[in-house]
């Protein structure tokens, strides 16, 4: 008589630990895309993932202070991609600024602030947390993108 076996299924996850350098954007993009491709992610959603990752990381590299380590985690569950970007820099909430005011002319159009606005609009959820304390304190941005 065979034993009753219940195999626990784990949602796939990817974790990357990278240094603060311009190549981190390209490295993480390749890794996240390679991780998601076998999971049936539709092209439109994959593009959203790439844009969100690009915006969060380029914003961090340009505006983060004393950032030495960047951790990226990706997961897929319940039809949505979860992305987490964590850094060890000074406290900084990239989601804290409001979206640019609506514009209807070239003169009014903002040249800044579009990146985080894109993150908010392309994701179904986004949040910032300051986690840990002291030397272990981290800025953490978590987003979810629906696969549709």
């Amino acid at each position: 008589m065979k034993p009753d076996r219940t195999e626990a299924t784990e949602e796939p996850t990817l974790v990357l630990n990278l240094g603060n350098q311009p190549a981190v954007i390209e490295e993480s993009r390749f890794a996240v895309v390679a991780f998601l491709e076998p999971l049936g992610i539709v092209p439109r959603t994959m593009n959203r993932v790439e844009v969100v990752l690009e915006e969060l990381l380029s914003n961090l590299i340009r505006h983060g202070e004393n950032v030495n380590a960047i951790k990226i985690a990706a997961g897929y569950r319940d039809g949505a991609i979860d992305l987490v970007v964590e850094d060890d820099g000074a406290e900084f909430d990239p989601l804290g600024k409001p979206d640019p005011d609506p514009f209807t002319s070239l003169a009014e159009a903002p040249l800044g602030g579009l990146g985080i606005a894109l993150v908010r609009r392309l994701t179904c959820a986004s949040r910032y947390d300051r986690v840990g304390s002291g030397a272990a304190a981290r800025n953490r941005v978590s987003v979810s993108i629906t696969n549709r």
């Binding site: 092209p43 439109r44 380029s58 070239l106 159009a109 040249l111």
Partner: protein
């Protein structure tokens, strides 16, 4: 990011190819602006071979169109694929820069 510039009957045509991400924009923005704005004539941008665009690419396009507007010259784009178009629309760029399907339509818009 590849770029080619030609003159089509007094309209500057820029053909872009590849990714307009934070890395490539830093490398091409100066040349893009320098080949369009000083000519003080209408310009169209072919996005057919652009595979990716993010906010810095959008900013480059807005800045160039705005600078050209000071010379009373119009700016339009055409040929964006679905993914690129989603980003263009999500940033409301279509509110201020015409994005059409074909080169002929873009030329008609900027010379009207």
């Amino acid at each position: 990011m590849d770029m080619q510039f030609t003159d089509v009957g007094g309209v500057t045509k820029a053909v872009l190819g590849g990714r307009l991400d934070s890395f490539s924009v830093g490398e091409v923005e100066t040349r893009f602006v320098a080949n369009i704005v000083p000519k003080e004539q209408p310009a169209v941008v072919d996005l057919s071979d652009v595979s990716f665009i993010a906010s810095l690419g959008i900013r480059m396009l807005i800045g160039t169109a705005r600078a050209l507007q000071r010379s009373n010259a119009r700016f339009a784009m055409f040929g964006a694929n679905d993914s690129v178009m989603e980003i263009i629309e999500t940033t409301s760029l279509t509110e201020i820069i015409p994005v059409v399907g074909t080169e002929a339509e873009a030329l008609a818009v900027v010379t009207a």
